[in-house]
Every structure is written in structure tokens, then in C-alpha cells.
Symmetry: C2
Subunit: 150 residues, 2 copies
DNA sequence: CCTGAAATATTGCCAGA
DNA sequence: TCTGGCAATATTTCAGG
């Protein structure tokens, strides 16, 4: 589906997305125009979804990671609840999970105090929410969104 | 700590990291050299950690997301176990959590079959691991690493 | 911390293979 | 799908405020 040359380009971009095309072309041994053509194609095909800056959460007061299991009320309309949870700024991930048919959220807040506020003021007050169970993170060994590409 | 101009630059890069500096400078109304100076400084200060391409997991056979709670044996050396778990390619995140003093992993695999293989062959075979409890994701509403910056 | 100028490098387009 | 050429842009450095 994706050939070796494109995989090499993607691996380079996984490491350092903001580098000149010309340098990528040097590393893979193609003309810059060929690399550009491949990248544009992968963008159009939806293989590449975009490019992001990776910021240090500590420098923006978002040190505290937590995971929150949200149990909806039996009559809750699930898709709506998912959207409402996703709309909260400090909620980074919203997954609907097999375990107990609820949501699992990943959130980032300044500290446990603001985590408490998020729970009390924004999540537990939703009419669709029955209960929540929070797991706070003490330390993180690895945290990436980089998927394995072969 | 970080002024409004730098925040605007970062917000632009959060959306589209791989755009010419000159375009950033047009959007924020500074000379290109000033924008370059600010970005370099933030890179050196560790405010900016890097730049990544965002790939579509479906196109690389990593559709299945799961969360795995790993309970270590009572005598396990925790930092080592964290490193060993982090070294597994399809393990994207390794968090040491307050809940039961174990690890919470986020993983991405092709499907539930390869998730099973990961558990049986790589994780449950570790000498430090007592047990695991896996939560598979049925659907994802939101998944970003973009933190809230103001 | 900024601007503006100048040298160097890159991008993006196109023709041709 | 590639290369190579070329004009238009972009990057980066530096002097000066």
C-alpha cells in the first residue's frame, strides 16, 4: 500500500516534522520535487492528517494527567454525551469502551485541585452522567502519539 | 511567562506545524526574523519539544486502541518495569497511577487478535508482572495531544 | 526585542523521460 | 513516478535602533 520510500519519508517526519523538504530529499535520495509530490499525495489520501507542535505541558500548567471513567445514566443518549465530553478543553481523549459500556477520558489539568473542579463543575453536573471514577497519574514514563509504521 | 505574541505563534503551530516561517510572521505581524528568534528561543527553553506528523492509524493497521492496567508483583522494581513496558513499540503511553499502585498503558494494535498477542507474549510474560486488566476501545470521539494554552 | 537588507537555500511548477 | 531547470519565496544572519 505504501512503499518503502514513502515510509522513510514518514519516519523522518515523525521525528522532526518541521524540516525543509530539501533535507528530506537528501536523506531519502530523491529529488525535492519527488518528495514534495509524495507528501502532497499522502496528505490528500488522508495518510497524513496534519502536523503538530509538541509542547511541554509543564510550561503551560498542565502537569496533571488523569483518566476518568464516566458511567452514563441508563437512559443517556451516548453520542451526545461523547460530544459534550469532547468539547471540554482539558479533555484530550474521549473513548467509548467495552468495560461497563461507559467512556474513558484522558484529561490534563494544572493540578489535582483543578482536576477536582473539572469533575465537579463540568462532568458530574451533566445530566447524562451517573458517576465517575478517576485515576490520577503519579508519573509518566512514555507518552507519544507516534504509531508503529513498518 | 510567555507573552501574547509567542502564544499566537504557538497556536498557529498547533494547527499546522509545517508551514513557512514567513507565513507565521505575516499572521502575527512581525518580521520573519523576529518570529524565527522567538521560535528558536522556545525550542531552546524546552517550551517547544518538537514537531510531529499526525498519521492516520487506520492506514497503518493500528485501528485498535486499548488501555491495560498492569499490576506488578509485590517485589517488582517499578522503574525498570516502566522502562521495559515503554520499550514495546505498540505501547504508546506508560503511566504510573495512584489506583492500586500499578501502570496504566495505552496501546495501539491492528485488532483484538494482535492485542491478545501483545498481552500474552510481551506483557504477561514479564517477570515483574502479576496480572493485567484490559479495556478495549469501541469507538473514539476525540483523541488529541494538544494541550490548552493561554 | 525588534526591523530591514543581503546572501543563501528552498519551494513549487513544468517539461521531458 | 521520476529528474532537472528556473523563477518566486523563504530562511538565516547580521548590523543597527
Amino acid at each position: 500500500m505504501i512503499d518503502q520510500k514513502s515510509l522513510r519519508i514518514l519516519k523522518i517526519l515523525q521525528e522532526k516534522a518541521r524540516i525543509p523538504n530539501a533535507e528530506v530529499s537528501r536523506q531519502v535520495g530523491l529529488a525535492p520535487s519527488a518528495v514534495l509530490e509524495r507528501i502532497r499525495k499522502m496528505e490528500n489520501q488522508g495518510i497524513i492528517d496534519g502536523y503538530e507542535v509538541r509542547l511541554n505541558p509543564e510550561r503551560f500548567n498542565r502537569k496533571q494527567v488523569a483518566f476518568i471513567e464516566v458511567t452514563p445514566k441508563p437512559d443517556a443518549y451516548i453520542p451526545d454525551l461523547g460530544e459534550k465530553l469532547a468539547a471540554i478543553a482539558d479533555v484530550l481523549e474521549v473513548h467509548y469502551v467495552a468495560n461497563g459500556d461507559g467512556f474513558l477520558l484522558k484529561v490534563r489539568t494544572a493540578d489535582t485541585l483543578s482536576l477536582g473542579n473539572l469533575l465537579q463543575q463540568k462532568i458530574n453536573t451533566m445530566k447524562e452522567v451517573q458517576s465517575t471514577k478517576t485515576t490520577t497519574v503519579l508519573s509518566t514514563t512514555k507518552e507519544t502519539s507516534r504509531i508503529t509504521i513498518e
